[in-house]
Symmetry: C2
Subunit: 364 residues, 2 copies
Amino acid sequence: MSKRSLLLLPGDGIGPEVMRQVRRVIDWYARKRGIEFAVEEGLVGGCSYDAHGTPLTDETMARALAVDAVLLAAVGGPKWDNLGFDKRPEAGLLRLRKEMQLFANLRPAKVFDALVDASTLKPDVVRGLDIMIVRELTGGVYFGEPRGITDLPNGERRGVNTQVYDTHEIHRVARVAFELARKRGNKVCSSEKGNVMESGLLWRQEVIALHKAEYQDVELSHMLADAAAMQLVRNPKQFDVIVTDNLFGDILSDEASMLTGSIGMLPSASLGATDANGKRKALYEPVHGSAPDIAGRDLANPIAMFLSFAMALRWSFDLQAEADILENAVENVLNTGLRTGDIMQPGMARVSTSVMADSILREM
Amino acid sequence: MSKRSLLLLPGDGIGPEVMRQVRRVIDWYARKRGIEFAVEEGLVGGCSYDAHGTPLTDETMARALAVDAVLLAAVGGPKWDNLGFDKRPEAGLLRLRKEMQLFANLRPAKVFDALVDASTLKPDVVRGLDIMIVRELTGGVYFGEPRGITDLPNGERRGVNTQVYDTHEIHRVARVAFELARKRGNKVCSSEKGNVMESGLLWRQEVIALHKAEYQDVELSHMLADAAAMQLVRNPKQFDVIVTDNLFGDILSDEASMLTGSIGMLPSASLGATDANGKRKALYEPVHGSAPDIAGRDLANPIAMFLSFAMALRWSFDLQAEADILENAVENVLNTGLRTGDIMQPGMARVSTSVMADSILREM
Ligand SMILES: CC(C)[C@H](C(=O)O)[C@@H](O)C(=O)O
Ligand SMILES: CC(C)[C@H](C(=O)O)[C@@H](O)C(=O)O
């Protein structure tokens, strides 16, 4: 097998320091397990804008398309808040998603036993929580045309965006959700606003059609997005896999991640279609943001980035047992009571980014 | 002063039984306080469809436009789930909102001291919570054109909706939020997805412009809708007034209402513009739905409907002290330990819809 290739995009804020730690994990796999990765690094987000005047250069885009998997840490920060739409750090991320055709965003919201008390929800409500949100990532209102801000004859301005979904866009992401459910609790809940939006009604109808044709063994339910936002607070453990569109997925997955009380722990995977060689484009990133307020101070939690790499081991390289090693090490270190600031609790030991990483590496 | 006029729309499910109780409250004000209302009743939602083949007749629409205030209980139910878009119960509600031009939807999320433990969130996180969400209600993706489902040449289907906002639509609802904030905690948080949607960027810019021109004394902040969904779970008490668009308002207000643990308690007001005579169209309704599963069994919580009427006393009739009487009676009865099923807790006394109403009336 030719060498496995990775593109690391540290990005902005705490991105570089958590990416530095993941490099040590990558090295560990080469040294201890003989699993070698060809690693390149590139710029995305505000740092790329500062260096090149664009949040993602064509050259970095091309490299992202060429490698087996991309690891991204985080983009954005107040420094770039007032740039135009196509210059913003987010635009780099959106371009990666679109050109790599990463239509399925997998966002687990999982509560670690050691961290049950970190949640603002009562322990009984969240203990054992393990939801997988499958968010459509290359369509909907994020990319629909027409869009923009225009001047009206009456002196006002008008802002427009378009939500649009075609049958195949719905089917391919729903397929990911059904396949995932089969390996988990075998339940899919599809969420939209089909009571007020035709695009949501189509979403529902197409999910039902696909289910009927190919996935009748999986239990399918439907929930309006507003009701889902409620039920995530009221009784989150009712969910196994949730599949939803780009915008609702953005909101519901962030809400779900916060139920865990520890978004510094949560990874995500963004996957494209499987090609003729059985390969699929993929990008892995933490759910947390770039946290500019604590950047450069060795305070960030590296675990979400580590678990994102574990997802890469699973999804891009089919190294299940290797992923287990990393995930178990994380769990064990948490059980010893080490905590970064974001998940700190009374009676635990507060440690820095690098000490947390040291401990996990030692545990591996 | 000519008699105050009310149109009652009991709607579907538990609607009629909670509306029956509110009628008793209305009578109480006439008998005990000499405040008389001319009360009419009409059909909306599934019951109107069953009777007339449409979820809202032109005649009922005309009456809604003629009265001082409309009280609506709830619409919808599985019986009507498979009707076309314009026949669904929701379509009746959307028509009322649109034709009455009820652009500002006020949704308080308030935690009653007696019910702190009903929340799935930890008591410290929600005790004293008092958020007012101001949701834009007549624009955005709910009403934007083009919309619909079309057949594509390749055999697929396409679902389209359009999010559109003009300057004046943003200003008028933001104005309501700023005015409300002045009477409360003096803070407004405006929420959108201006990082990926131009309509959201315009929203933000126009809120900033209005704030600068007229409301500099109010503290204004901005939060992306995904971040707001997170912060509502993490630290909801940071918020005073939240102003947001129709779709985000739908989701965030439902999420916020569930933080209270008792959505059977929450009222809402939908307000139009003030006309030359100082009058504004208004519709008041509980946040809860039609709960078809418990309909007709004297189990529903009538309090959200009562508090919706209290909002009507305040907003449509400027009867502040009278509204206090009703709101205080509700609070006192809760403090005695009476609970309907939805807010039942160990050690409390479980009562029916009518017994709860009896007790509140006695307390008044
Ligand atoms: C950074 C931003 C463009 C992005 C989104 O809205 O998709 C983020 O919130 C996310 O969820 O990955
Ligand atoms: C019933 C439905 C059309 C409505 C909405 O989506 O606005 C409801 O969810 C609400 O929030 O009042």
